[in-house]
């Protein structure tokens, strides 16, 4: 299957401001998609019918008059009524942030608010509609390290070096995180011991709450910035939206444990920024 992604851009309701709808239509065409723009004043029924007749992969709605709360869900419902619930619907325009959860609950996949770039929208559509063909999801390269929270590195070290026979590569203080870390290579990965430097350190709080033990697992990646952006667009909960500096001057960022069923994962890119 090598057909272009087909998008219906629609203006439900009566408002006549279609600058946004026109600009997004043009931008998606420039991204190689086929875009059908309905023109102004389309009823939910007309939009759903057009989506089905034009056999589109996705429907984008634009509203600036405040009617989105009643009209957007109606279009999702009408698609359902016509057995076309598989056509995803996204929206944009003047939409107060607190309306977004309501709209998402009503089945609108995503709301783009003023200031979203057209590139973001195009990328979102590509990933949603055609997840295989779009830059297919690249797995992390390896486990960079396994982080273990300890009260004192000095006290924990003998187990790793003497009992297990691993060798200590280096010890470093990461001030921004309030931790002292020790690395012990094992196969293609490493054990990272983390010792809190002060009471504000997340490691201090972790040990307070849960005691010593496995704190996080870090994945080695080579595209940390793009990856974070993709995750963000997919709604993956993140602790860091932008990479920050970690040990060995690597770029790092943490995903929220609720994204991964309770495990704290870190993305980690060594050797500086590849952009």
């Amino acid at each position: 299957m090598n057909r272009k992604i087909r998008v219906l851009i629609a203006k439900p309701g009566l408002d006549g401001h279609d600058r946004g709808a026109l600009v997004i239509s043009q931008a998606l065409r420039d991204h190689g998609m086929e875009v059908i723009y309905t023109g102004l004043r389309q009823s939910p029924d007309q939009i759903a019918q057009a989506a089905i007749q034009e056999d589109v992969d996705i429907v984008g709605l634009s509203s600036l008059s405040g009617a989105h709360r009643s009209l957007f869900p109606k279009i999702v419902d009408t698609l359902k009524k016509y057995n076309a619930a598989d056509i995803p619907v996204f929206g944009g325009g003047v939409i107060p942030p607190e309306d977004i959860p309501y709209l998402e609950e009503k089945g609108i996949k995503k709301i783009f608010t003023p200031g979203s770039s057209t590139d973001e929208v195009a990328k979102y559509i590509r990933r949603l509609v055609d997840p295989d063909k779009s830059e297919s999801v690249k797995p992390p390269e390896k486990i960079a390290h396994i982080g273990i929270a300890v009260h004192h590195i000095e006290q924990a070290l003998p187990f790793y070096t003497d009992t297990l026979g691993l060798s200590l590569k280096d010890v470093e203080e990461v001030q921004s995180e309030g931790v002292k870390v020790a690395f012990l290579p094992i196969g293609e990965t490493q054990i990272e011991l983390l010792e809190p430097l002060n009471e504000d350190s997340p490691i201090y709080k972790f040990i307070e709450k849960k005691g010593e033990g496995i704190h996080h697992i870090a994945f080695e990646v080579s595209d940390i910035k793009d990856r974070l952006k993709n995750y963000r667009e997919d709604g993956v909960p993140l602790l860091n939206e932008e990479p920050k500096k970690g040990a060995h001057n690597a770029d790092v960022a943490f995903l929220h444990p609720k994204a991964s069923h309770g495990v704290l994962y870190e993305l980690c890119q060594h050797g500086g920024e590849k952009s």
């Binding site: 009566l14 006549g16 009643s70």
Partner: protein, 549 residues
């Protein structure tokens, strides 16, 4: 040459004397903080070009403003657009504003009213009372102006396709209050061409729409001599993404189409041209905006005098309202918008606007709250009272940069006007989608520049912060739609139905007869409590509906 200059100067001095008798200046003497006296007018090197192109304020071609003393006597009118929800809620807001000393009202209507649907029409669902007040029948209009004496206020109504219907309702409310038509003052927007180009609240195709407009011109010329019959609007063209030059060019092209249509309908230019008003946008680039307003005045004056041979100087003067650019506001860090609005408002004042609406900081998110609306008004008051920019006439005149920009904008506007003329005029150009395409190209180019970072929008593509958007926003109560629907349904059951049908029938007949003026028939229907939707549906059946390509 020197003598022409002296003649003009003498004339200006006489004009000034007269003007001051009517509207004394705000102070006896104006001075800076260092006690440097501020003259009414400064001019630099005087040559022929100066007299011809720049001249004196209050004198042709009005580059420096349409009044001899400008804001030395009276500030511009601070006119904030308002209206939401039900007629009763809006009436309460209006009466509050009038108690606060405001003399002009500006009515925003909801979209169903603007497109000629009643609140109980299926097309109106979700839109009732959202962006303005819902008016279905004269009963709603009576509520809207309850206890507001129409002979004491001037009312500006942002209404286009059904402008005749709303104007007739206004006349009917006046009659009920005992105010004769002749005493009514105000403005209707009534500019349909820009609806096709940019704003989207059209109903009928261009030709019958133009007839509705010239019917209003003709009727008002006779019965409502103090009413501004149109506000030719570049504002929405600019919001749709045009450049400053396109804004002025397409607006003036539309203006000329109305002038031509009115002349064709048998009116003389000086009968209606003095009542034409304009409405522009104040955007981000400060000097270009100020120059734009100066250039627009000059272009209009020259065409009206030289091409249309208008003799009344009032026909030459381009009077305009300005609103700051809504699309320049960002949803991110919304307080930054206060600063944007202040700079834009300043450019409008430097450009000599007659009235001004300053946007509220939260308009990229929702309708403005009372607090935001107050800051917006205070912004104008600070410019007027504290900055000193209003103490001398057209202070940017003579700046090499501003004069050059003014000349260049005039030149490029004239090129567009020639091109549109060659296409057969603005109506033709609109039907062919020419202006729409030009604007769309400009809008897309801007979007790309913003996304590439070539154009910096502070807080949006640079200087970003992590922020919780957690502002108090104004919401329209969703129960209002139901109440309004019920009100209109009960109106339909409690009026003289035969009288309504008779009146609608007469509108139908008049629509078929080009030589008849629709206004008196619409007025009759309105008085019989026919609704906006019923009157517009009657006309839809005769005129057809416009469908954008």
């Amino acid at each position: 040459m020197g003598s022409t200059y002296n003649e003009h100067k003498k004339k200006w001095e006489e004009q000034t004397k007269k003007a001051i008798e009517r509207f004394p200046e705000r102070k006896d003497t104006f001075e800076t903080s260092s006690h440097i006296g501020i003259d009414r007018l400064y001019s630099g090197e005087i040559n022929e070009k100066y007299v011809e192109n720049i001249g004196f304020p209050g004198q042709y071609p009005y580059t420096r403003g349409i009044q001899p003393t400008m804001y030395r006597s009276r500030f511009w009118t601070m006119r904030q657009y308002a209206g939401f929800g039900s007629a009763q809620e809006t009436n309460e807001r209006f009466r509050y504003l009038l108690e606060q000393g405001q003399t002009g009202l500006s009515v925003a209507f909801d979209l169903p009213t603007q497109i000629g649907y009643d609140s109980d029409d299926p097309m109106a669902e979700g839109e009732v009372g959202k962006v303005g007040v819902a008016i279905d029948s004269l009963a709603d209009m009576e509520t809207l102006f309850d206890q507001i004496p129409l002979d004491k206020v001037s009312t500006s109504m942002t209404i286009n396709a059904p402008a005749s219907v709303l104007l007739c309702m206004y006349i009917a409310v006046g009659e009920k209050q005992g105010v004769p038509k002749e005493k009514l003052t105000g403005t209707i927007q009534n500019d349909i061409l820009k609806e096709y180009i940019a704003r989207g609240t059209y109903i009928f195709p261009p030709k019958p729409s133009m007839r509705l407009i010239t019917d209003i011109f003709g009727y008002c010329q006779e019965y409502l001599p103090k009413f501004n019959t149109i506000s030719i609007s570049g504002y929405h063209i600019r919001e749709a993404g045009s450049t400053a030059v396109q804004e002025v060019a397409f607006t003036i092209a539309n203006g000329l189409a109305y002038v031509d249509a009115a002349i064709e309908s048998g009116l003389k230019v000086d009968q209606f041209a003095p009542r034409l008003a304009f409405f522009f946008n104040a955007h981000n680039q400060f000097f270009e905006e100020a120059a734009k307003f100066r250039a627009a005045r000059r272009v209009w004056a020259k065409i009206m005098k030289e091409h249309y041979k208008a003799e009344d100087p009032k026909s030459w003067k381009l009077r305009f309202h300005t609103q700051t650019g809504g699309s320049t506001l960002t949803a991110q860090q919304p307080d930054n918008n206060i600063v944007r609005v202040a700079l834009q408002a300043l450019s409008a004042v430097m450009g000599g606007t007659q009235s001004l609406h300053t946007n509220s900081r939260d308009e990229a998110l929702a309708l403005p709250t009372e607090e935001s609306a107050r800051i917006a008004l205070r912004t104008q008051q600070i410019i007027a009272n504290e900055s000193g920019v209003a103490d001398t006439v057209d202070p940017l005149a003579g700046s090499y940069y501003v004069e050059e920009l003014t000349d260049k904008i005039e030149e490029q506007v004239n090129q567009y006007l020639e091109q549109i003329k060659d296409m057969g005029g603005a109506v033709q150009a609109v039907e062919e989608g020419y202006m729409q395409r030009e604007i769309h190209h400009a809008a897309y180019e801007t979007q790309k520049k913003i996304e590439s970072g070539e154009e910096v929008i502070v807080g949006m593509n640079q200087y970003k912060i992590d922020e919780e958007v957690n502002q108090e926003l104004l919401r329209v109560d969703e129960a209002l739609e139901k109440a309004q629907v019920q009100k209109t349904e009960s109106l339909r059951n409690n009026r003289d139905q035969a009288r309504v049908e008779q009146a609608l029938n007469r509108i139908k007949e008049a629509a078929q007869d080009q030589t008849d003026n629709l206004m008196p028939h619409i007025l009759e229907a309105v008085k019989a409590y026919a609704t906006v939707g019923e009157i517009c549906h009657t006309l839809r059946r005769e005129f057809g509906e416009y469908i954008a390509r």
